[in-house]
Each structure stands twice: as C-alpha cells, then as structure tokens.
C-alpha cells in the first residue's frame, strides 16, 4: 500500500486518535462533533473548528446498551455507548441538522451524559417539495451560523467561508475522480480502501486530506488486481460505515465493487457547494442539490427517486447486481426498500439484502448468501451467452 493510502486507512481505523493528536498539535483550537448526514461542515471549518463526523467505533457496546433500546440502529446505540463511556469527551461541541428520531435519541443521551457540552440541533426540514421549506432551511442556516459563531467566539468571515467551501469542493472533486475511475474500470481499489478515502475525509483536517489525495493521484493507482467474476453496486447504509470485513467478504466471494451510493461512499461526496452564490445561500442550496443528485429516503421529495437513481447508476457502471446494505432498524431504509426491490425486479437485476448490526455479523451465513448471488449472476450470464 502506498503512503497516502496507508495514512488515510490509519485515520479511518482510529478517528479518535486523530482527533486527540490534532488537538495536541493545535492548542486552543476546538473540535466539533457532527452527526450525519446533512450538516454543512464548511461553516465549522471557516470558524476555526475541526469538524468531525462522529464515527461508529469498534468497541462492543456495554455501558450504553441500557440507555437506548436494542431496536435502535447500530450507529445510534454505539453513539450512546460512546457517550456513556466518555469517549465523546474529545469533542468540544456537537452539531446536528438531521431529524431522525433515532439520531435525536442518541443526541439526547449525549446531552444527558455530558450536560456541559453544547449540542445544537439546527433542523433542516426533511420535506423538500413544499415552497416554505427553502425559506425555513435558509433561516435555520442563519441560526446555525449564529450558534457556530457563539461557539467559536468570533464571527465567521464570509471570505473565509468561501475559502472553506472551495477547499471542501476540492476534496469532493478529487474523491469523485477516484470513484469515477473505479466505476469506469481505470483503477482498482478494494471496497475497504474506497471506504478509507471517504471515512478519513469525514475526520481529517480537509487541507491535509486534500494533500494526501493529490499525492495519491500523482503517484497513481493501479488498474489491475481483481479476479472478480461479477460486478456489484453497493447501496444504502446510512450514517455509519459498513464493516470492512463485510466488504472484504463480498470481494472474497468473487465480486468486484464498481460503484455505490453509501454514505461512506459516493453519497457523501456527490455534491459541491456552489461557489457563485453568497456562501450561506450556497450551503442552503447544497442541501437541496444533494438530494437531487443522490436521493435519500430520509428526505421527502416527490420528484427525487432513489430507485430511479439506483437504476441509472447500475446501468452506468454496468454492475451485474446490487447488494443493499441496510443498517438494521433504519426506518427510512426499511420504508423505501420495497420500491428499490420493485425496480430491480422490473429490470431483472439480481440483488441481495444484507442487514448489518454493530455487534458483528454472521459472516459465514452471509458468505453463503453472497456466493449464491454471485452464482446466480454467473449462471445468468452463461445462459445469456448460450442463447
């Protein structure tokens, strides 16, 4: 593994260590923990914070298990566990923009366990089709600006915010170059490596991340290496990263991941903030643009269809099948899943649903199911070739 990839993987594997080291090397600076999936991190960056999307950790849930019920998603239960164990004390403040009932449950635990740490919920209205929503989101953005400025103790300079937006856009653009190259078969990185690229972006200082990506691209990424029989698209898995051993298992079963719409994947990097608008206006617009580019079932928008997006993405990548990764108990995903299923049945795309949990997965059972999918796709190709 080359040096940039190694460093990005290192940060992705232990975000807390990165945050602690960053604080030590930036005395007097603050770290803001951000809950997924729509908070505009650029605002925090411009105010001098290190914005970090708080990641699920690898520890078994223990202290937090008794705080949130067992039927909450793995991410929110793990957040509660991290809060209960004091693992989140590395953050100086928290920001949330997403109205997810489970996420707010975890946020309530975070406030309960650390009442001295500010936690601001600037709700971005999820119903995108009503005329009133744009005004409301714009107003909420102003409230968030005020709260960020209060936390930073200084006003956000608009030019500095514009610089932060440009920096974040650069990071997204570089990541998209890599994702596009994978989709087009020009490079080969494993699913775990692709996840490292995005997860580290959610944690690291953006300038440092951009520098590593530029170094990676300059050094070049190899094209070959996969002996895969089938090409797959990974879909879903909001808020937290699917376990890397699951991604490895998929590849071990003879599949190559060619594209995804995971939050720790293309979903996170898909949309730039417009640089031709007032920065606050641009961040508000970004919220709406994201849901058009990769529709999300946590949003309600009548003319944005995740099923249509997925169908187009599969056509574009030439994926032979889809694995839907669903964080168990994720209600928006459970609600939309039948629509995805209907679409995949209509276009005769083989698919597999895998539910994931924080506390590990029955890997051998899942292996059998993935192998069955790969076999089904392979046979389908054989039959098609014989006709």
């Amino acid at each position: 593994m080359n040096a940039p990839l190694h460093r990005l993987a290192e940060v992705a594997a232990d975000p807390d260590a990165y945050v602690v080291a960053w604080k030590q090397s930036h005395p007097g600076r603050k770290v803001a923990g951000v809950l997924p999936m729509n908070f505009p991190e650029e605002l925090l960056h411009a105010a001098g914070f290190l914005p970090v999307v708080i990641q699920e950790n690898r520890d078994p849930d223990s202290d937090g298990r008794v705080i949130l019920a067992e039927f909450y998603c793995g991410y929110t239960r793990n957040l509660a566990d991290q809060a209960a164990k004091g693992k989140l004390d590395i953050y100086d403040t928290y920001f949330v923009a997403d109205h997810c009932v489970q996420l707010l449950g975890a946020a309530d635990v975070m406030r309960f366990k650390a009442p001295g740490t500010p936690i601001y919920f600037g709700q971005f209205i999820a119903s995108m089709s009503e005329e009133s929503t744009a005004r409301k989101v714009r107003n909420e953005m102003e409230h968030i600006v005020g709260e960020v400025e209060r936390g930073a103790g200084t006003p956000i300079d608009r030019e500095r915010l514009a610089e932060s937006i440009r920096l974040y856009n650069t990071d997204r653009r570089l990541l998209r170059m890599i994702f596009d190259a994978r989709r087009e078969g020009r490079i080969h990185l494993s699913g775990a490596q692709m996840q490292d690229l995005v997860k580290s972006s959610m944690v690291m200082d953006k300038a440092e991340h951009v520098a590593l990506l530029e170094q990676l691209l300059t050094e070049g990424i190899a094209a070959g290496g996969s002996q895969a029989r089938v090409k797959l698209h990974l879909s879903g898995h909001f808020c937290h990263a699917p376990k890397q051993e699951l991604l490895d298992l998929i590849e071990d079963c003879g599949a190559m991941i060619v594209d995804d719409d995971l939050y720790h994947g293309r979903r996170y990097i898909t949309t730039d903030v417009r640089e031709d608008l007032d920065p606050i206006e641009a961040l508000s617009t970004w919220y709406f643009d994201r849901n058009v580019n990769v529709p999300c079932p946590t949003r309600v928008q009548h003319d944005a269809d995740w099923d249509t997006y997925l169908s187009n993405a599969v056509s574009e990548s030439g994926a032979d099948g889809v694995i839907v990764l669903m964080a168990k108990f994720c209600e928006p995903h459970m609600l939309l899943y039948p629509e995805l299923r209907k679409m995949m049945d209509e276009r005769d795309t083989p698919y597999l649903l895998i539910e994931t949990e924080h506390e590990g997965l029955p890997m051998e059972t899942i292996r059998t199911r993935i192998e069955a999918l790969v076999e089904r796709i392979s046979r389908k190709a054989t039959v098609a070739a014989a006709l």
């Binding site: 008794v66 705080i67 949130l68 019920a69 039927f71 909450y72 109205h99 997810c100 009932v101 489970q102 707010l104 449950g105 946020a107 309530d108 635990v109 406030r111 309960f112 601001y120 919920f121 600037g122 709700q123 209205i125 999820a126 119903s127 089709s129 009503e130 005329e131 009133s132 929503t133 409301k136 409230h143 709260e147 079932p297 946590t298 309600v300 009548h302 168990k328 108990f329 209600e331 928006p332 459970m334 609600l335 939309l336 899943y337 039948p338 629509e339 299923r341 209907k342 049945d345």
Partner: protein, 453 residues
Amino acid sequence: MTTNPTTSPTTTGSTVTRMQANVEGGKMIADYWENIFTAPERGKKVVWYNGSALNPIFQAAGLEWCHGEAFSARLAAQHLEGPAQLAGAEYGYIQELCSYSRTHLGCAVLSNGGGPTPGGETGVVSALDQQELASKLPKPDFFVNAYSGCSTGQQWDEVTYRVFGKSVPIFNVSIPFLWGNKPDSRYMGGQEWDEATDYVVAQLRDLITFIEAQTGRPFDWDALSESMSYIRTASELRLEGMDLCAKKPTPATYWDWIASVAHINFLPGNQELVDYFRSVRDEVQYRVDNEVSALQNERYRLYFDGIMNWNKLGWLAKRFAEYDAAVIAGRYTHSSFWQEPQIIDPNDPLRGMAQHYLLCPINHSLPTLDYLTQRDCERFDIDGLVFHSTRTCRAFTNPQTMLASSAKEHLGIPAMFFEGDVADASFYKDDILESRLVAMLESIDVRRAKAGV
C-alpha cells in the same frame, strides 16, 4: 411460568369498574368508521392523513378524514391487523418497521389492488380478507401529512404516495422538533417555541390553500372556529375528569382515558363530542362523590409511559388490576390531544392548533419530558413508573431509560420496563411484564415499610 395472581402474596386481584360513558363512546367510534367506509357512495372526498389532529380543518372543508395510525390501532385492537401486515410483508416491509406504518401500508397495498404488482393478487392474504379490507378503507382523494416528533411519520406517507404510483396529491406540514436549543427554551415558551409556532401556522395556511384547490370550494373559516370551540370545551371537560383522578383511590384509570383517545383525537368537533366528555367528567365526579373507585382495592398508583399496546388494551387493564395496581396517568393520554385548551382561541384558532401539534409528547427532547413526567407523578402521587418499551416505536421509546433515572433521582420512585408494540402482538411478552411488575410492586412495599407507611 406465570404466577397465579390469586395466590401471589402481592395481590388481592382487584376487578375493574369500567366507565359506562365509554360504552356509549364505543358506539361513536364505530359510527365514525362506518361513516368513512361509506364516504365514496355518498360522494364525499376522503383524505388520508397521519400525525397531528388536522381533522378540524378537514371537517370545516367538508371532507371525510381517515387517520392512518388510528386505522392501524383499530385493526390491532380488534385483532384484525393480520391480513394488512401480511400484505405489507409480501410487498417487502420488514417486521422491525413501525407497525402502525406497516399495517397502514399493507392496507394501501390492498386498497391499490393487491400484491407487489398493482392489480396483482397477493399470495399470502386470502381473497376474502383482501376484499374485506380493500373495500372497507376507501382510496384517498389526497394525502396530508403533519407528523410531529417522529421522522418516520413523514417518510411513511411519502411511501404511501409512492405505493399509489404518485397519482394521489399530497401535502406535507413539517412540525419542527422542540430540541431546546436556546437558554430560554422551556415547555410552551421561549424563542424556539415562538418561531416554531409561526412556521407551523404559515404552513397550515398553505395547507388550507391546497385543500381549497382539492375541493374546489372556499374554506369555511367559521366552521373551523365552531369546531375548535367544541373541541376546546371537550378538552376542558376531559382535563377536569383527569384532575379528579388525583383522589385516592382513583375514580378512573389510564385505561379509561385510553378509551377516549380516539374521541379527542379525531372525532368531529361538535356538540356530541362535548356531550360525551361531559358524560365522562360527570361519571368521574359521581364516583368521587359516591366513593366509587376504579379498582376494587387500589394499593399502588402507577404512571404509564409509552404508546398504547392496542393488541393488549383490555388484557393490560386486567393484568395491572390483578395486582391492585391502578395506572392513573400517562404520557400518551395526559400530555397529548388538545391538552392545553387555554391556548385555543376559537376566533383565531390556527395558532393554538399549531401549538398543539408542536406539543405532541414525542416532539420534545428529554428536559421537557422530564418536566412533564415528574409534574404528573407529583400531581397524581405516583408510586412507580411503567415503561412500555415499544418495539417498533422508537419515537416513544427514545428517552425512557433516562426518564426512569431522573424520576428515581428526583422523586425516588422505581420504574419497570416491559416489551410490546403498538400494533404487532408478536412482540408482547406477558411473563416479562408480570415478573417485572411484581418486582416493582415489592420494591414499593419495601420502601413503604422502611418509611413506616
């Protein structure tokens, strides 16, 4: 093994004296649903809605309204939820999904003509059941969603809209969650409350414009004022009845108030509604005056947190009574449903309506819920808290362990948890309820013994 309540040392096995007013109230509910079922043949437009009690607006617009959660709850209470849930499962909804939505979406699938393919037969629901459900619940002319607190609520209606092939118009009213961001944030007060109120009021005006377009008629503001006037009076009578339950032993229980949830939540605002709640209040007053208690031998006074387990309504009432445990109040009944009538101005009703939508008890974060829970525990001199850990209702379950901790810390009262669900009986575990209830009651006995009570 289930403990025999007649031999347990902690029980005497109270019987429940049911309120007569609720017998008549049951007929009102049956009439309401019959009215919905016959709407198409009477040429009435039907709106499907979820979440907040928008029904006064629909009433004033001359519509028939079908509350999705209420319909799911009704099916569950009558043990008729099975076919709809099976149809939902066949369509692809996973069992861990909110069972209200799963049941209602199953009805949508059936109403829309069957299984995963519109017009196709479902393989798991018998033709008779399919026909029965599908023909009973009329297809919507449009949807309105105004879900407070729970993010799933809004997504649920969006998916219903998609199940119907996006062919039925939909309007969303977004209710901001009251997180308590500002230093002045408090129950019904502060900048956040004021701004959220203004935002919801503006959306209600937009909703009325949308409804005018759907009906082709100007909205009848006078009818809305009249309806809200009746609702305000009905609510005041309901609260008077609830207040009387501070008496020991209580003249009525939480289960009695559950029996009137439908009335206050979605029946038409009219004189009949007022008469019903007057009869409820009067019956409770009669009981107070004549020393009639709800339970034969009240020994424990409990508070119930969680949404109702509709499959087990009668069962739970008897279960607690067997242990002489009077469940007096709860978040679902006492912190919901036009519970602050003083803020309803019938002459200018939208603001008070918007504020009630914001006051939904799943639309608050922990500090406000702590306040409401402890307020009612003190008001009704509660001995213990019962938390219904509702498997598919994350919104109601969210803060429960923390509420229990706070009540223990500030009031010194114990709590118990039991598992169940709103509309899926498979999640209910009776033995767990019983053993935990017995344990909590014994801890109350020990506490009393130590205090020399």
